[in-house]
């Protein structure tokens, strides 16, 4: 498995974190994903994707204790690393190049 290639869902998760201000945790990520894609998202799938992205070095995480957050439970916050820009850029690039010249098809 190539370490740099991104799955579609992983890409979506990264973009959502970017939108949410480079650092976030599962609840807002799920809410934003559902709002943007208009589809129900399984929290478990988001967790698995986050962990996998962390393993690929595209995310880092830190634990927020109840004392810090004022919530009764800990949260795990994920932040984008600098390494994320390269795969996102190339993913966007390859998608755009695939679409290049095909836009008229969509109009029909």
């Amino acid at each position: 498995m190539g370490r740099s290639s991104l799955g579609e869902f992983e890409q979506q998760v990264l973009l959502v974190i970017l939108r949410l201000g480079r650092e976030s945790y599962s609840v807002p990520i799920v809410a934003e994903l559902e709002a943007r894609t208009g589809r129900a998202v399984a929290v478990s799938a988001v967790y698995v994707a986050l962990r996998r992205l962390e393993a690929k070095g595209l995310l880092t995480s830190r634990l927020e204790t109840p004392a810090e957050s004022g919530e009764p439970h800990p949260r795990r916050h994920f932040a984008l690393t600098d390494a994320v820009l390269e795969p996102l850029r190339s993913a966007r690039q390859s998608l755009l190049s695939l679409w290049d010249g095909l836009e008229p098809v969509l109009d029909e």
């Binding site: 399984a42 919530e71 009764p72 439970h73 795990r76």
Partner: protein, 897 residues
């Protein structure tokens, strides 16, 4: 607002709305664990709260459940991430998944191997599932009564023997009223009743029961109130409870049947209940398990009757009283009763048996034997599939070598082989389970015909769990030899020599030889077991029973009391009927007896022989039957001494006939004829022995001839009698006319159990017949599978030696020499297998000695037979490949490398 993940706040009412569903949360806690668990639980609770604020509590709860479901589906992945150091575990899961995919792909690529292996496994695993289906119903299905483990049967023993015996009303009432060990004791009896009115008269199995009988069992009628236990007046005795089957058959399942009058044995009875559909009488005999009507038996007036023994008793242990304590109390009570009433009770003991022991005791040895046979077949199957995979493994040597060269560790290879084995076994198990499922109704009929109708057989979750467990176990088992062989693949040999195999290497060669020996051994054991059972069954049905059943038709009738109120009318009925039957064309002779041989019914009496000076308390117990003496002629029972009496007339002394056993036992000097005795329960009637006849096996082929005497019908007229009719031609031809003659005599008295005596006797050996058939089936499967295994291995070995054989024959070795060279190897293996199998058979024979009849467990004939069959099959299986080897053209053989 947010709600805490621990969900311990708020009142009950608000809690159910404000916190995630408890059940789902509980499940989630089981899925996620480790340091991340609090994060997952908390964040999900937070999500729940925000959803609840947006879409309401119902939607939020649904969402939460769906999320938990998602976590469950990704359980392995989630678990990996919720504990750290997860990467490795995660990848292991993915590895196993890829092993499974790889295994499936491999199986698809070799369809012949797959089909053969799956079919063999389906046979082995399916057979075990089927057996387990039978066994588990006996192990796990409770008997169909309330808290059945509390139920016991109480019997007396006969004098001078320890066999179970029925109980007198007086003793039963003492037990019922004076014991502390039991919550309650109820007597019952079996009987055949004639049901008439509402259609043709019909004889049905019936039971006379103490009114509280069903209360002791803890089973209530499905319809109607049942017997009125509180008022036990004679008027209430005219009540009847119907079985579900009788209710449907005779009354069309009419719910208004309760309160209706029916005629039983000529008297009107009121229907007071219908039993549930699955109710069965707690009887060992399959016939009496289907008792179809129950009438109350009022015994309180029989308190003084301690001599006539005709009751069975069932009791429920009081809370906290063990079976052992109950036994102790009954032993003491038995001694007391023997002292108080020595005439009736001296020399007798009381036996307490649990219901389970009584009902299932006879069935269990067969089931245990089945389990063992099934396990043996499975081992043979595993050995066979192991051989197949080993042979296939040889073809895959280069694959394994390449894999380990590319960095697959030894463990990885092992795991892949085991996964392949388990996948294969699970496929076999799936096919096997489908077969068992399809044959479930067949199993049910085997169960109810040969074992017991008391519990139902079905494929349930236990069977599935068992099957999967067996499959996984077999998969590992038959994968092991290949795993062993492959774990140290000789890389150089495999890569450099390529296809130049040298018989698959000494290691796996030895493994395969071992498997062959094991298969032959196991198959030998099974074959010996089957031979033992078959021979024992054969012995059993060839025991001379002391009479000639062929050509005899039998049936029974009951003369009802209202129409035939006294001795004279009963006697007249039987006399007229026997004359009418004798007049039926094709009938040669007619005899009458109180109870047919090979039935469980028996009448016993304590006899006090004149001039012996024996206290009646020490009087020996003997069996007796009431007959019209033509009976002996009809059945070919030889007259040994004296002259048979007239059955229809007796004087002041009742003339009786004794059998040889009784004559030898009590008049060893041959002075039986002329001797006198009385029965302890009617001391005023003197019986004089006028004749001696041959012994009859009354209790079945495996029984012994008990000391017995026969009383002429006129000396003891009975309503219910069985008729034996000898036909001059084929007995089947007279059946219809006999039935018509019975109905013509009295339309209210039907001929019950009308049929051929020989067929009734065959029924009595149904269980041993089943055991020998099942044994034979398993032995045949074992023989087939292991022969195929031997053939497979040897033909593979020959194929691997093609080059060698080619060289040898090019050098001038002749065909016979080559054949014997190949077969020598096979013969050695088969011989070792036979020896091991014979040792196993000796052990198995000892274990199943209780199932055998007239055959020693080390029966040389069975051992010889098994060795012969297996030896022949094994040699044939090796001869074919040997012949093929010789037929190889030397040049071809050399070129093939």
């Amino acid at each position: 607002m947010t709600v805490g993940g621990d969900g311990r706040r708020g009142t009950d009412a608000s809690r159910s709305d404000e916190t995630p569903p408890r059940g789902a949360r509980w499940v989630l806690c089981r899925i996620v664990s480790g340091p991340e668990a609090q994060v997952v639980l908390g964040e999900l609770a937070e999500g729940f709260a925000s959803r609840r604020a947006r879409a309401g509590p119902r939607a939020a709860r649904r969402w939460y459940r769906r999320q938990v479901w998602g976590f469950a589906l990704r359980a392995v992945a989630v678990r990996a991430l919720s504990s750290r150091g997860e990467e490795e575990r995660m990848s292991r899961f993915e590895d196993v998944a890829s092993d499974v995919r790889w295994a499936l792909r491999g199986l698809r690529k070799r369809p012949t191997f797959t089909v053969v292996a799956v079919a063999t496994l389906a046979l082995g695993i399916g057979a075990n599932s089927a057996i387990f289906t039978l066994v588990s119903s006996h192990l796990f299905e409770p008997l169909p009564y309330e808290r059945p483990d509390e139920l016991v049967l109480i019997w007396e023993t006969g004098r001078n023997n320890m066999e179970v015996n029925t109980v007198s009303p007086g003793n039963y009432l003492t037990w019922r009223d004076e014991t502390a060990s039991f919550e309650d004791v109820a007597a019952y009896n079996v009987d055949v009743a004639t049901l008439s009115g509402d259609g043709p008269a019909e004889r049905v199995n019936s039971s006379l029961v103490a009114p509280h009988f069903f209360n002791v069992l803890g089973v209530a009628p499905a319809l109607g109130p049942g017997f009125d236990v509180a008022s036990a007046r004679m008027a209430d005795a005219m009540q009847v409870v119907l079985s579900h089957s009788l209710w449907v058959r005779r009354f069309g399942g009419d719910p208004t049947v309760v309160g209706r009058d029916v005629r039983i044995d000529g008297r009107p009875h009121t229907v007071v209940g219908v039993m549930p559909r699955d109710y069965r009488q707690p009887e060992r005999s399959l016939t009496w398990q289907t008792t179809e009507l129950w009438r109350p038996m009022l015994l309180d007036d029989s308190r003084e009757d301690r001599g006539s023994r005709y009751l069975r008793t069932i009791a429920r242990r009081a809370p906290g009283v063990s079976v052992e304590q109950a036994r102790q109390e009954m032993t003491l009570l038995g001694r007391r009763l023997a002292e108080e009433y020595p005439e009736a009770n001296a020399g007798r003991a009381v036996l307490v048996r649990t219901l389970d022991e009584y009902l299932m005791g006879a069935v269990r040895p067969t089931l245990v034997m089945l389990l063992i046979a099934g396990a043996a077949v499975l081992l043979i199957v595993c050995a066979n599939v192991a051989n197949l995979t080993l042979a296939r493994g040889e073809e895959r040597r280069s694959e394994f070598a390449l894999r380990s060269a590319l960095g697959s560790g030894r463990r990885r290879l092992l795991r892949q082989i085991i996964v392949e084995g388990v996948v294969l076994a699970l496929l076999g198990a799936a096919v096997g389970t489908v077969l068992v499922y399809a044959g479930a109704s067949g199993l049910q009929s085997i169960q109810s015909r040969y074992f017991t109708g008391l519990v139902d057989v079905g494929v349930d979750w236990r069977v599935i769990v068992f099957t999967v467990a067996v499959a996984v176990w077999s998969g590992v088992l038959f994968g092991l030899p290949l795993a062993r062989a492959a774990s140290r693949p000789d890389l150089r040999a495999a890569l450099v020599e390529g296809r130049a195999r040298s018989g698959g290497g000494a290691r796996s060669g030895a493994t395969r030889n071992l498997l062959i020996v094991g298969q032959v051994g196991m198959a030998t054991t099974l074959l010996v077991v089957a031979a033992l059972l078959g021979r024992s069954f054969n012995r059993l049905i060839n025991v001379p029973p002391g009479f000639e059943p062929d050509g005899v038709v039998a049936f029974s009738v009951t003369a009802p009391e209202p129409t035939y109120p006294d001795r004279a009318s009963i006697l007249r009925y039987h006399r007229d009927l026997s004359e009418a039957i004798a007049a039926v064309p094709g009938v040669e002779a007619v005899g009458i007896v109180s109870d047919l041989m090979f039935t469980t019914e028996n009448m016993n009496a304590d006899v006090v022989i004149e001039g012996r000076g024996v206290e009646s308390g020490d009087a020996p117990t003997v069996e007796f039957h009431v007959v019209v003496p033509d009976y002996f002629g009809v059945l070919g029972i030889p007259l040994l001494a004296g002259e048979l009496p007239d059955g229809w007339r007796v004087g002041a002394e009742v003339p009786v006939v004794v059998n040889r056993r009784m004559a030898e036992m009590h008049w060893p000097e041959g002075e039986a004829v002329g001797a006198r005795f009385t029965m302890s329960w009617r001391p005023d009637v003197v019986h004089r022995v006028v004749a001696e006849v041959g012994d009859v096996l009354d209790d079945g082929y495996d029984g012994v001839a008990d000391p017995t005497f026969y009383v002429p019908l006129a000396g003891m007229p009975r309503r219910r009698m069985s008729y034996v009719v000898r036909a001059s031609g084929a007995p089947e031809d007279v059946v219809a006319d006999v039935r018509a003659a019975v109905t013509l005599m009295d339309p209210d008295i039907p001929a019950g159990d009308l049929g051929l005596l020989s067929e009734m006797m065959a029924e009595s050996v149904a269980r041993p017949r089943a055991a020998s058939l099942i044994g034979l089936t398993f032995a045949l499967i074992a023989l087939m599978v292991s022969t195929a295994g031997i053939y497979g291995v040897l033909s593979y070995a020959v194929q691997a030696r093609t080059r060698e054989i080619g060289i040898r024959s090019a050098l001038g070795a002749d065909g016979r020499e080559l054949v014997s060279m190949v077969m020598r190897q096979a013969t050695r293996l088969i011989l070792v297998g036979l020896i091991i199998g014979t040792l196993g058979a000796l052990a198995a024979g000892r274990a199943m000695a209780g199932l055998l009849f007239g055959v020693p467990s080390w029966d040389p004939a069975s051992l010889f037979f098994a060795a012969l069959v297996l030896g022949a099959a094994g040699l044939l299986a090796s001869w074919v490949p040997a012949r093929r080897a010789v037929a190889i053209d030397p040049t071809e053989a050399l070129r093939s490398e």
